[in-house]
């Protein structure tokens, strides 16, 4: 309940085509439930030309599921190009992102799709934490090598895997320089929920299939509902921002929206292993002027574990 309430306060940035972006079904519903007597709750929205405006939550209406006719999970959303910014200065290895990702994608193997690396370039440079997920490369080496078109690149920039197509050759894993792909070495022991509904590559892990590859999917199932990816909204430190490169805007978990180009310019954004020419969709802001202590993050650091096994 508490968490729901907190979430309801969180303002969402919508990635719709239409002017007037809206909060998600769930959020609005929950917001309504809590704020019935007091209708003054405001939601921050951004227009396509970048203006932020406040609108009473009660005025925001759900547009419903946008899986309108013609939406093809292999083609993706029209006129969109998704991008993520990871602020290394803010990461203190809270691991809420990973937890949320693992839970919502029903990850039951040993290896998480989202990992927070403990990095240190050289002896004298400062250590920092680096969250890493599929970089949704614009020139994805994984897609290039897949023999059966099981892993593919969509027009909105997202790289997905169709696990009904994958033959399990693992060539894509060998090709990915970011070690972000995970194989289902055995029959995944997933909860019932992972098997509900028809399979679509849109929601990786629902279900995972023995002998096929999984990885971060950039949460098209959340985008579709006008919400942010699980990791973005779960991070308590606003490390992640997510958005559309055409709109030049990214929004973090607290609902703050930034102009992407300015953010990257001011903070000298970079991408991982840029030299390889993979053209990732994930940008990193350097761990300078950190507000967080590296040592603090070490409390959460377990070198050999990225997926909590449920004991219940």
């Amino acid at each position: 309940m508490q968490e729901d309430k907190k979430k309801s306060r969180r303002k969402f940035f919508e990635l719709g085509i239409k002017f007037g972006l809206l909060a998600s079904v769930g959020t609005v519903a929950v917001a309504k439930a809590f704020d019935d007597e007091d209708n003054s709750e405001m939601v921050e929205l951004m227009s396509t030309d970048g203006h932020i405006m406040q609108v009473p939550a009660s005025e925001v209406h759900d547009m419903g599921h946008k899986q309108h006719d013609g939406y093809d999970p292999r083609v993706g959303f029209p006129d969109k190009k998704f991008v993520m910014v990871v602020d290394l200065a803010k990461c203190k290895n809270a691991l809420k992102c990973q937890e949320s990702c693992n839970k919502n994608h029903y990850i039951t193997g040993e290896n998480a799709w989202l990992k927070v690396y403990k990095m240190q370039e050289s002896e004298k440079t400062a250590p920092y934490f680096m969250p890493t997920l599929c970089q949704h490369c614009d020139k994805p080496p994984c897609v290039k090598v897949c023999p059966v078109d099981a892993t593919f690149k969509r027009q909105d920039g997202i790289v997905l895997i169709d696990n009904e197509r994958c033959i399990g050759c693992r060539f894509c894993m060998a090709a990915c320089p970011y070690s972000t792909r995970v194989f289902n070495w055995n029959e995944p022991d997933q909860p019932e929920a992972a098997h509900s509904g028809a399979y679509t590559p849109d929601h990786t892990g629902k279900p995972s299939v023995k002998g096929t590859v999984d990885k971060c999917d950039f949460c098209p199932h959340k985008i579709d509902m006008g919400e942010l990816p699980h990791c973005v909204s779960a991070c308590p430190n606003d490390v992640y921002s997510f958005g559309d490169i055409y709109e030049d805007a990214v929004t973090n978990g607290s609902g703050q929206t930034f102009k992407l180009s300015e953010l990257l310019k001011e903070r000298s954004g970079h991408r991982l292993l840029e030299g390889l020419g993979t053209e990732p969709s994930v940008y990193y802001l350097p761990p300078t002027e950190r507000l967080v202590e590296f040592e603090e993050g070490m409390e959460n650091y377990t070198e050999f574990q990225s997926v909590k096994k449920s004991e219940e």
Partner: protein, 437 residues
């Protein structure tokens, strides 16, 4: 006995003796064990192997590369030597073609064993995309298999006709040989088609052979991984393949000569020649190895040196140096001396070479995968290492046994030494013909 009859007597396929039967039974046991292990894998998934997300390929893939490598010898002995007019290689052509066919069949099967979803194998044809090196591999391997089978089969036509007559007291066997001989009677027209098809195939098989192993090298070289990311990889693999293949021919010809008493046909001269060939091939391969390891070591980028240190001084060092020294340097030294090229020493050296070649593939595949660009974190400690599990070994031995079984059966029913060609070379064919006509 007329020389021609003696020749047929010597070279016609023989029934398995006691030893042969035990050998086949042994191979069958190994294969059955492997089938059981594979059933486990099919049922439970690749979890039964030692592979995990970092060591995502393992002994299956290195074994696959080994098979592809060995199969190249078919083109070396039958095509390259044949086309360059080398006469001494005639008795070795069939042996190498049989090795090639067996190896390439097993290469194809081994790659299926490695797949997570072997039940979807036909997707390769249904949804194949031409930009994937795996599709290139599928294309060249099937082409190579086809040409290799033809190159094994065509030279057999006259032999089958001979065998049909030879086994006339065994109607069933004789009938089969007759069918397989495609009504070969040795007319001028037949001979000319026969000669030109073999020549065409010999020419055709060379680029395809280079193709299969180059593409196999590209499976690795098309990734960014340190240790694989090399423009040298195609020729490096080809050079290594010829070493492995030539070694395999020596081993097999030694064994066959012993068992079937072929001393008159596979002579010390053949061992001497093969020994010389092997030195040459080893030296070429050594040269590629120097390129492959020394230049990255000289530059020592972070990624490369992590990988190379592991090979030179780390956990893989004992294996690495054994393979380089035992499988390449010692053979070169030993084979320079004529004594080293006598049958027995050459056999032992060739065995070393083949073993070295097998392990060499292993250290090409595995260590690289354990040195990715981002550090290995957040996975169980055991995932930082790789060693095949007993079930994985069982399956691997099963593939090796299957290759040996295919060879054994082919050598059981086919003349090991081409009868017709040998007769022709020894000038005893015509005489026989005029007699029988």
């Amino acid at each position: 006995m007329k020389p021609y009859d003696k020749l047929i007597q010597d070279l016609a396929p023989q029934k398995f003796g006691m030893r042969g039967k035990i050998w086949v039974a042994f191979l069958l046991v190994v294969i059955l064990a492997a089938l059981y292990a594979y059933y486990q894998q099919f049922d439970k998934g690749l979890i039964i192997t030692g592979m995990r997300d970092y060591a995502l390929w393992g002994v299956y893939i290195s074994n696959f590369v080994f098979f592809v490598a060995i199969s190249l010898v078919g083109s070396l002995v039958t095509a390259i030597l044949r086309l360059s007019g080398v006469k001494w290689s005639t008795p070795l052509t069939r042996i190498s073609e049989v090795i090639a066919v067996a190896a390439i069949i097993m290469a194809g099967l081994t790659i299926i064993i490695d797949m997570g979803r072997p039940d979807r194998i036909y997707y390769i044809f249904l949804h194949g995309r031409l930009q994937s090196p795996i599709i290139w591999d599928v294309l060249v391997i099937t082409t190579y298999l086809l040409i290799s089978i033809l190159l094994l089969y065509y030279p057999l036509l006259p032999d089958f006709a001979i065998l049909k007559k030879h086994f006339s007291n065994k109607p069933k066997l004789s009938k089969w040989y007759g069918k397989l001989s495609l009504k070969w009677s040795g007319t001028k027209k037949q001979t000319s088609i026969y000669n030109s098809s073999i020549k065409t195939l010999s020419v055709l098989i060379i680029p395809v052979a280079f193709g299969i192993h180059t593409v196999t090298a590209w499976l690795f070289a098309t990734t960014y991984r340190p240790g694989w990311d090399s423009t040298n990889f195609g020729p490096y693999f080809i050079a290594g393949a010829f070493v492995a293949g030539a070694g395999a021919v020596v081993v097999i010809m030694f064994v066959l000569r012993k068992i079937y008493h072929l001393e008159n046909y596979i002579t010390d001269l053949h061992f001497d020649k093969m020994g010389k060939l092997l030195v040459l091939l080893c030296l070429v391969y050594l040269y590629f190895n120097v390129n492959e390891y020394l230049i990255p070591a000289y530059k020592s980028t972070n990624e490369e040196s992590a990988h190379l240190e592991e090979l030179f001084f780390g956990g893989y060092a004992p294996l690495f140096w054994t393979v380089i020294i035992g499988g390449l340097i010692i053979p070169v030294i030993a084979l320079v001396f004529p004594k080293g090229r006598k049958p027995v020493p050459l056999f032992i050296i060739a065995l070393l070479v083949v073993l070295g070649a097998w392990w060499k593939r292993y250290i090409i595949v595995t260590p690289t995968l354990l040195h990715p660009f981002l550090p290995i974190q957040g996975v169980p400690e055991s995932w930082r290492h790789y060693f095949p599990t007993p079930l994985e070994w069982t399956i691997t031995f099963g593939t090796l046994a299957s290759a040996l079984l295919i060879m054994t059966l082919l050598f059981r029913y086919l003349p090991i030494i081409p009868i017709h060609e040998t007769a022709e070379e020894r000038g005893i064919l015509e005489q026989d013909k005029t007699e029988t006509l």
